[in-house]
Symmetry: C2
């Protein structure tokens, strides 16, 4: 049987929250709805879909809430907060997708899978935590937190903040379940927020870390033998010399060109860097294409009208 082309899509933060919004449920649901309209259009055109997404603001809020109620209930560790954010965000995207499919009179099952992502406990990231997470603390409280085992760093002008490692994802623990779901025609939402980070110490065990969602998305896309990996963000195309007078947007990038620009430092680590890296890995490992574009240009990018395509050569 000829299967429809499978696209793995990584949704950026703007799929659920827009600049300046507070993050109420209603705001996020409305954004999820807008995003779903685009995704359903892909399904209507006959593609199969696997969806992953970030969780920055949501897990940040959940962490804050853990802290605010410590005197009443035991706070859950960061990895468990990640699981909560998968439930919350999965619910919003899933409900939006189901409603949009209903409106389009299409009958495609959608399901969010709670997903663990394996990382290596020997990953150098564990020796050098860099990722700011959760609220800011005054110095005194930061010291207490350090005594409890957290690593705290001074976030210039804002106060002390927890930092956690951002190790490289090895793969989704639930990949076989996800594979079977995709084969059964289910639109799967998985690996949310980069996945719940776990190490394999003979057994899987949660660790407090943050996995980049685009890199985790690559593991998903590659493992599922996706025909295309799309990374959606808030810019239409990748640029070199970004925000400089000689800025240039790129339509197509070969793996070799991408690698060169990457090494020249054109893509900042907190932003476009991991996206280009994730796209390069997918192209290198599968020999297929990846596209980086903005959330509202999915269809145009697929039609080759915009976006940055990363191609083998």
């Amino acid at each position: 049987m000829l299967m429809a082309r499978l696209i793995t899509i990584a949704l950026g933060g703007n799929a659920l929250l827009q600049y300046g919004q507070k993050g109420t449920f209603e705001e996020q649901l409305a954004n999820a709805r807008r995003t779903s309209r685009q995704l359903v259009e892909l399904l209507r055109r006959g593609y199969r879909l696997v969806i992953t997404h970030g969780n920055g603001p949501q897990v940040g809020a959940i962490l804050l809430q853990q802290e605010a109620a410590t005197d009443q209930v035991p706070p859950m560790p960061l990895h468990a907060c990640g699981a909560m954010s998968q439930g919350l965000i999965g619910y919003m995207i899933q409900q939006s997708m189901i409603n949009e499919l209903k409106r389009a009179e299409m009958d495609v099952p959608v399901a969010t899978v709670v997903t663990q992502v394996l990382v290596d406990r020997e990953d150098p990231a564990f020796q050098n935590p860099t990722k700011f997470i959760g609220p800011w603390y005054p110095e005194e409280e930061a010291k207490r937190k350090e005594e409890q085992g957290w690593v705290m760093k001074y976030d210039v002008g804002k106060g002390w903040r927890r930092v956690v490692p951002s190790p490289d994802p090895i793969g989704q623990v639930e990949i076989e379940a996800i594979r079977r779901m995709v084969e059964a025609g289910i639109v799967v939402i998985a690996s949310g927020g980069g996945g719940i980070p776990v190490i394999d110490d003979g057994e899987y065990e949660g660790v407090d870390a943050v996995i980049d969602k685009d890199l985790a998305g690559e593991r998903l896309a590659t493992s599922l033998d996706s025909d295309l990996y799309m990374i959606l963000t808030d810019v239409e195309k990748v640029a070199i010399n970004f925000k400089k007078p000689n800025q240039r947007f790129l339509d197509v990038l070969t793996l070799e060109e991408a690698r060169e620009y990457y090494e020249e430092g054109h893509f900042p680590p907190g932003n476009m860097g991991p996206k280009v890296k994730a796209a390069m890995r997918f192209v290198e490992r599968t020999g297929r294409e990846a596209i980086i574009t903005s959330l509202d240009k999915i269809i145009e990018a697929l039609e080759g009208k915009t976006g940055t395509r990363i191609v083998p050569k």
Copy 2:
């Protein structure tokens, strides 16, 4: 192909939290682990499994945390908190199951699905909210909450507390995805905490309510054409004249006997009532058996050595 017998299992609160525990992540994970050992034994014996579970203490904690941080981040509504609890509890059970399967050298995929459960907006429960939820408030704050639209009731000796409706479940919105997953050999964890309650107003929309997890479990068990519905709790058998001198534990109950005892008020509404009702519904709708027993007697009950069997006649 002859498929292995499918059991839908509803786990009681004691599968994750035991009396007197505070509810730390470590406590809950250790309990989930103990529970998973039993469930893996069922898989080893060749059964297929669908697992559902309660979320009382967990969603209670999440609600408290929402309240405690309202001045910092927007609180999520109750139904969204239910989604978070599905992520959290699904993660704990799923990880425990995967670890136990690994130890048993068995290769069975396990996946938690975020699940919405449809309720009727005309359900009389919406006119008469009865289910206490979340923290207790002093009278003044309770009044403010009422002005915001919450229904508050006085919980004798403890203070004012929010009450929400407990409507009857119609079915799982994601049932088709779950069915395909079960057919694909995946152990599915679904409909956690009775499911995220949604109404169908042309579109699915979350509502603040609490669905009984055993009644929602019946919808799952029946829709999936399960061979058996097992409801696990903290007592080995159902009793009539419970805690009275003439108390009698029951080994087998026909549907007719169960209905009589139920109508005579032998099963209290906050406790054994919904379990017996859920079992009766499954037996009536499928012509198959249901078993009510304790968490640690799953195997013995399946072998007919203990538990209460509810049979068609």
